[in-house]
Symmetry: C2
DNA sequence: CGATATCAAGTTATCGATATCATTTCTTCA
DNA sequence: TGAAGAAATGATATCGATAACTTGATATCG
């Protein structure tokens, strides 16, 4: 092997390897490895010398090589489920807040975040991860199972189904519903309405909490099914109430948009908020807060949820026992 | 769950390697490799046989090993710049739309997305990527340079600075400003106001387009500096105008929130929108669209922007020549 | 003073996949 | 019939980092 390498003089220097550093420093590869890992097995002397050399030479660790040797990737896959055609999910601010928390926690633990939005596509890449975080609408059990059988440590965001055998982190939707019911009762409302989609697991739990709490006072709320969570949908809901000449004095809407739409319709109908009708939304979005009148809403702390998701996967990866957890919500009372 | 791990029986079967498959099939490793890669170098016979075997055995490619051998990671790092303390960026819907487009395009090209939100932290991981996409507020030149000198193919989202020597994809902010000016001129407005932050590169370009177009008709708009892009900030801006008894008949606000705030203040002041004052926002958010009155706004197609970002990095990675590109915007005229 | 720790560093093997260069078998045509 | 060529498969080396074991030198102790 004479000059098989080095086709040209200084042709492209693609960053040195540990072997290169070793040659330069007159030591063996393993010593370089140890020095860069701050191992106590090398003298402080050489450690410092080699680290300086590495800096000067612009050494970059080859992650693939390390991952191969250590049989782990130091990577967590985050899968954002999306409805195929509608990009609705992507517009919601909350997955992004979750992502923020996740990313923050994982990177500070030395892990990287592998983002996947498409269902089956990146399978190979996902399998290379040490763990999985699944962010979805909580609607697709099949998706959960699909990733489940990859056998990786996995944590799911959403509502906790009773028979689920995987770890779930989510907002305590039931408690959210309860707190709204308590509020309505405390201000003497007797004819509450619920606007939302009871097919949706998270919303269903809000509904259950709401209904159960009210049942304690012998009150049974009216349920208005709404599939869309838009402003218009909320307005329509209220108009339909008026058309049916239903008596109501409080509205619990499952999203701030629904709530704002409801308020708009109420105003159109000449009703006063909150004098005639109390309205509470969900998510405590910045927009709801600066709506006129400022919207009361149930707040979930997504950033924190993301952090928690990340911590749980990391714990799972380290083989620790982990349990599902619901994050508390808080009712922010504003003008409505 | 009794034996959580099953250490005993078949001593953990962590998915077979190519060598395992080779032994089972009675061929050599390389033949397995070729068969799984659909190489024409193996007979259709054995190819089919080996692929079936792989499926049955649940074979999973070891990405690290392949990356090591091929000296590439098939990964693109997406860096979302965030202001340290404020999580404002993360609340904006637009980076997520970009992410959606990016993710979609990259995964369908067989690449994975490595998400990073923190500045220097994940350096090692980022360096392992084949390319970088930088999503920022466009405010931090230093950050760009930092990643620039990693020497990776890089594409930046934002406004194109003239002296920039890196590839930029962004919305054509200048054209956005021009289209608003044209609109105002066409409906006979003579005293326009601009609300936004001229320190911000993207907004500055909107301003320039706006100003230049108006200058053609000898009109010079009033500039209202606003650092925050909130609803309140927009309202304050209009109130300050009124306090100074300035004459104005049109407002170009650099975000929908600013615009909505402005409209609210106008209504408070007893002014009619759009009779007394025309208002145009920016971003065409769903909220602006269902605002009362529905907001006119400049729309940018972020999904597409993400796709374009992804395509450009991929092209760079493949060594092709690539140029910066601005995406057209469109003025959506609604009630205001 | 000989035996055993202690310390710093080196050797070798390995993670799993693939490029390069053989090797074997079978065609095909002069 | 034999040589050249194609087709299918294999042997080996390699990517870069690190674990497990070894070596040599110095220090410590009964």
């Amino acid at each position: 092997m004479s000059s098989a390498k080095k086709k040209q003089p200084a042709a492209a220097r693609p960053s040195p390897t540990m072997a290169d550093l070793a040659k330069l420093a007159g030591v063996s590869k393993i010593t370089v490895s140890r020095a860069l890992a701050d191992s106590p097995l090398v003298s402080p002397d050489t450690r410092e010398r080699i680290q300086a050399l590495a800096r000067k030479q612009g050494y970059k660790l080859n992650v693939s090589a390390r991952n191969l040797r250590l049989r782990r990737s130091h990577t967590v896959a985050v899968i954002v489920e999306m409805q195929p055609s509608s990009s609705r999910t992507m517009w919601d601010p909350y997955p992004l807040s979750l992502l923020g928390g996740i990313s923050q926690e994982l990177t500070s633990a030395g892990y990287s975040v592998l983002l996947t939005t498409r269902q089956g596509a990146a399978d190979a890449a996902v399998q290379a991860a040490d763990g999985v975080i699944l962010l979805g609408q909580g609607e697709r059990e099949d998706a959960v199972r699909l990733y489940d059988k990859m056998g990786l440590p996995m944590v799911v965001w959403g509502a906790r189904g009773d028979r689920d055998n995987h770890i779930v982190v989510g907002s305590d939707n039931r408690q959210g519903g309860i707190s709204v019911a308590e509020r309505f009762l405390s201000i003497g409302r007797r004819h509450p309405v619920f606007i939302g989609n009871s097919e949706h697991p998270e919303m269903a739990q809000r509904l259950h909490g709401f209904v159960d709490e009210l049942a304690g006072q012998g009150i049974k709320p009216l349920l208005l099914q709404r599939v869309d969570w838009t402003l218009d949908s909320g307005a329509d809901a209220v108009r339909s109430l008026a058309a049916r000449k239903v008596r109501f004095d409080a509205i619990f809407a499952c999203s701030d948009l629904l709530a704002m739409g409801a308020i708009r319709a109420l105003v159109e109908l000449g009703l006063s908020v909150p004098n005639d009708v109390s309205v509470v939304g969900y998510d405590d979005t910045p927009l709801g807060a600066s709506f006129l009148p400022p919207l009361s809403s149930v707040r979930q702390n997504w950033q924190e949820g993301g952090v928690l998701l990340a911590r749980k996967v990391l714990a799972l990866i380290q083989g620790q026992a982990v349990s599902s957890q619901m994050l508390p919500t808080s009712l922010i009372v504003r003008a409505t």
